[in-house]
């Protein structure tokens, strides 16, 4: 299937801007490297061998294509739109993250880099990075906030088993944004032999476009699968958003189809009015961080504030610049869902479909649960089930301790 054909690209422009968002706001040390990466990516896009290798790995290593599953019991319970789940949770390593990592590691190899670095929040991107580094025999360093290390132990162990070094980040506030700062510092220090695999559609150009292209396989498959199952385009697409890579991958192949509603679901944490949330679009303002201009959680003085979400994977104070642009021009809708709503949706999917979703994806499910009953039965909604919930068992069992201690199943 390959990457989207260049003519299908709507944005960014040559300087990496989606409207006023995006760009390359990085230290001079990194600029030559970023330009080199862009050149390597442009050349890979034109190279049939690159596409062939990527396609083979997607099929035989990742397990693509991922199923498009009609969630009958969920649909019936909600009494409205027909809900399909795009099963990225079934892909190797348990989430969509691998789609991007496999693409970037191939680029790293093309560029002759021997050392891979990445940052991770929930650990899924770290696991996917450690996986591809192992697969291609490269040294791998993962930066992870110390708080996240505590709440995502299983993923930390997985990364170590895969041969990666996990470096706890205690600088700043010890969260994902600080892990990204430290990864950028490592990159600046080791520019000659190091490739930085950014895990979401953020960072300096060309990362937002490149990660989107690698993730667009999700939306492309949905297009083809739904044509087969329903003979038409979906009416709405729903996906959760931290940085926004699974959402961008689902949305992008449909950007020019005006009839398709695109809905991104941010993490409202304890509520948008509490200040403890991770909703950059609805609770933030435009600013410049980590190499791009986008919506950020920040003070009036331009100091970055902490994000909060029950899901470590959504706990980032920014969002990919293409989402900021789609929000500004009104092409996509962005809503937010609280920790409690996400947790309820998590339980609902477990009980109705026998699928334990990631807490990230549970945000998308929570919004579908609100929206679907208001829509007609012939409305076709595709929800991106971006990852599976094994990694979240500690968080969930702590929050649901009383229910799980009871003899009866959790309600």
């Amino acid at each position: 299937m390959g990457l989207p054909h260049p003519t299908a690209e709507i944005a960014p422009d040559a300087d990496g801007f989606f409207g006023r968002f995006g760009g390359r706001f990085v230290a001079e040390t990194l600029m030559p490297l970023i330009l080199e990466l862009q050149e390597a990516y442009e050349s890979a896009k034109q190279d049939p061998d690159f596409h062939a290798e990527l396609d083979a790995l997607r099929r035989d290593y990742i397990g693509r294509e991922s199923p498009l599953y009609l969630a009958e019991r969920l649909t019936e319970a909600l009494g409205g739109a027909r809900i399909y789940l795009k099963r990225e949770d079934l892909m190797h390593t348990g989430a969509h993250k691998i789609n991007n990592c496999i693409g970037q590691v191939l680029l790293a190899r093309r560029m002759g880099k021997k050392r891979i670095i990445a940052e991770t929040g929930a650990g899924m991107h770290g696991v996917a990075t450690a996986t591809v580094a192992a697969r291609f025999g490269m040294e791998c360093i993962i930066y992870m906030g110390s708080t996240d290390i505590d709440r995502q132990q299983p993923n930390v162990q997985r990364m170590k088993l895969l041969g990666a070094r996990v470096i706890p980040v205690t600088s700043g506030t010890g969260t994902l944004k600080d892990a990204m700062n430290d990864a950028l510092r490592d990159w600046v220090t080791n520019v000659a032999d190091t490739f930085y695999i950014i895990g979401t559609v953020a960072g300096p150009h060309p990362y937002p476009a490149m990660v989107r292209d690698f993730q667009s396989v999700i939306g492309q498959e949905v297009r083809e699968q739904l044509a087969e199952k329903e003979g038409r385009l979906p009416d709405s697409l729903v996906a959760c958003i931290g940085g926004g890579s699974n959402a961008m991958g689902l949305f992008h192949p449909f950007l020019e189809d005006e009839s398709v509603r695109l809905i991104g679901v941010e993490a409202a944490g304890e509520g948008l009015d509490t200040g403890k949330h991770a909703a950059s679009l609805q609770g933030g303002s435009p600013g410049v961080l980590h190499g791009n201009r986008t919506f950020l959680l920040q003070s009036a003085e331009g100091q970055i504030t902490d994000a909060h979400s029950i899901s470590a994977g959504l706990d980032y104070p920014g969002i990919g610049p293409e989402h900021a642009w789609l929000h500004e021009v009104g092409r996509a809708e962005y809503v937010a869902v609280t920790d409690d709503e996400a947790l309820d949706a998590f339980k609902t999917l477990c009980r109705l479909e026998g699928i334990i979703p990631a807490l990230e994806s549970s945000h998308a499910i929570a919004h579908a649960i609100k929206l679907a009953p208001t829509l007609p039965e012939d409305h076709v909604m595709v929800l991106n089930l971006s990852g599976r919930g094994d990694k979240d068992m500690t968080t969930v069992t702590e929050r649901l301790a009383d229910e799980l201690a009871a003899d009866a199943p959790a309600q």
Binding site: R24, M31, L184
Partner: protein, 278 residues
């Protein structure tokens, strides 16, 4: 349009006439608190700082090492704001109209304040130049060109990764001086080899008449002296902020910074003196 003071150009002319390198000292505005850092700032020229680099605190200083990151967070913790940073420059200007002040930091706090508002206030306060680490020449229209229109120099960083193909672009709109980052990596990293840096600086001189300041990893008077033999200025930051971090009281912090400045200034001044045989 604000009147151009050219304090930076005049200072480098004076240094050239005296045949010595300048000392550029970095402190974070508001570290460890407003009063202490203001007191330090006011005393820096007398202690031997030829140019003052004043850090605008930002929560996420990606290109800085742990030392400057910690100093910026101490300042924010102490309630430092952009308004207070500019106030510090105003107070300095009441007493000292000669020492150039360069604000160093990241783009976001400037962007949030509004570029025009920031530049107007900075120029009025008596700021002479800006170093904004995350604005490469590709984004000159954002701040570099507007800053120059306000009479402020825009000092850019060149690094060992800036190759011959890219150097002209980096030099194109740089003014005041060129800041040569002597090693890849963050501020406070290992000391560079003076011989290698000397060659790199000479290679840049072929393309530019701008004075060249060298920084990153210079901590001791001995290191400063070696760099000062060939560079137009030596930049020291992390070693000074470490002194603040290690101090047991604000008074001690200020005293420590000024003592180190004095010994660095002494080293920079004697770097090109002929070696006398006893």
């Amino acid at each position: 349009m604000t009147q151009r003071h050219d304090r930076i150009a005049r200072r480098f002319d004076e240094l050239k006439a005296a045949d010595r390198a300048g000392l550029v000292t970095f402190i974070s505005a508001g570290d460890p608190d407003y009063d202490t850092s203001l007191e330090t700032l006011l005393a820096l020229p007398e202690a031997g700082a030829d140019v003052i680099e004043l850090g605008m605190p930002f929560t996420d200083p990606m290109a800085d090492g742990p030392s400057i990151q910690a100093s910026t967070l101490r300042a924010l913790e102490g309630g430092q704001t952009m308004a207070r940073t500019l106030d510090m420059v105003r107070v300095l200007r009441e007493r000292d109209d000669a020492t150039p002040v360069v604000l160093m930091g990241y783009y976001n706090p400037i962007y949030c304040m509004g570029v025009e508002a920031f530049l107007a206030e900075a120029a009025e306060a008596g700021v002479d130049g800006l170093i904004v680490v995350d604005l490469p020449p590709e984004h000159d229209a954002e701040l570099c060109l507007p800053a120059q229109a306000h009479g402020l120099d825009f000092i850019r960083l060149a690094t060992p990764t800036t190759d011959a193909r890219r150097l002209p672009l980096v030099l194109e709109n740089t003014s005041g001086f060129l800041y040569y980052v002597s090693s890849t990596g963050v501020t406070g990293a290992a000391a560079p080899s003076a011989e290698r840096v000397a060659q790199e600086v000479e290679a840049i001189r072929v393309h530019s008449d701008l004075p060249i300041g060298v920084g990153f990893g210079i901590r001791t008077p001995e290191q400063a002296e070696r760099i000062a033999r060939f560079a137009d200025a030596v930049v020291v930051g992390s070693a000074l902020t470490d002194t603040v971090a290690a101090a047991e009281s604000p008074t001690e912090a200020s005293r420590g910074v000024l003592e180190l400045t004095r010994s660095l200034a002494g080293a920079v001044r004697r770097a090109r003196e002929p070696v006398t045989q006893d």
